[in-house]
Symmetry: C2
Subunit: 118 residues, 2 copies
């Protein structure tokens, strides 16, 4: 637990936006736009990604289950192991048209990435 609580391991909700996201090969895929946090438990449920056109998939927002993200201290960002093909049909929305993050939507997102929705 010592590692998880070092100075570099907390991030302010005010500074989440723009955190880099990479694929396992180390290529930058984009950045985090926002985190969706469970109000009760305080656990992050989704990282909402902006892929910045890198994959030619425009500027839509992609919610990913938190468990698909792994923080890499060396890179100073998150590594996500999803293939380009997987993103092509992934749940997404225009930033100005965010859906309600209810159970139905949450389940759809989690199911899409094969993560159990608890």
């Amino acid at each position: 637990m010592a590692i998880a609580n070092t100075a570099s391991s907390v991030i302010s909700s005010e500074r989440v936006r723009g955190t880099d996201v990479y694929n396992p090969a180390g290529d930058k895929l984009g950045s985090i736009d926002e985190l969706m946090i469970d109000k009760m438990s305080g656990q992050v449920r989704y990282a909402v990604m902006e892929f910045g056109g890198f994959l030619g998939i425009g500027t839509d927002r992609y919610p990913l289950p938190w468990d698909t993200m792994k923080y890499d201290t060396g890179m100073g960002g998150y590594v996500v192991s999803v293939a380009k093909e997987q993103l092509e049909n992934a749940p997404r929305y225009e930033r100005a048209a965010a859906p309600e993050y209810n159970d139905e939507y949450g389940r759809r997102v989690y199911d899409y990435y094969g993560v159990p929705y608890l």
Copy 2:
């Protein structure tokens, strides 16, 4: 778990600031300025409070262990059960002079409120 994942139960990191905080009697104490989130686990570790002068304690920021906060759906905000006297000597800082949230500081904050630092 159904309740914890309803639409109203996630909040965007972009909308955390300004969430109301009450005492158990229902009096508004202030609001959340920011949340400090563990980068690895995605678990909120601290809610940084702004008490807005209500208690006559100025506009310093007060980090509280997440476990002292309880979300109240009816009130649409958090209820925190700390007495005014407890806040008078609580760890605080000016917004522009935020400390490093390292183990030493974290332990001090958690110890002050009697919450185990894990």
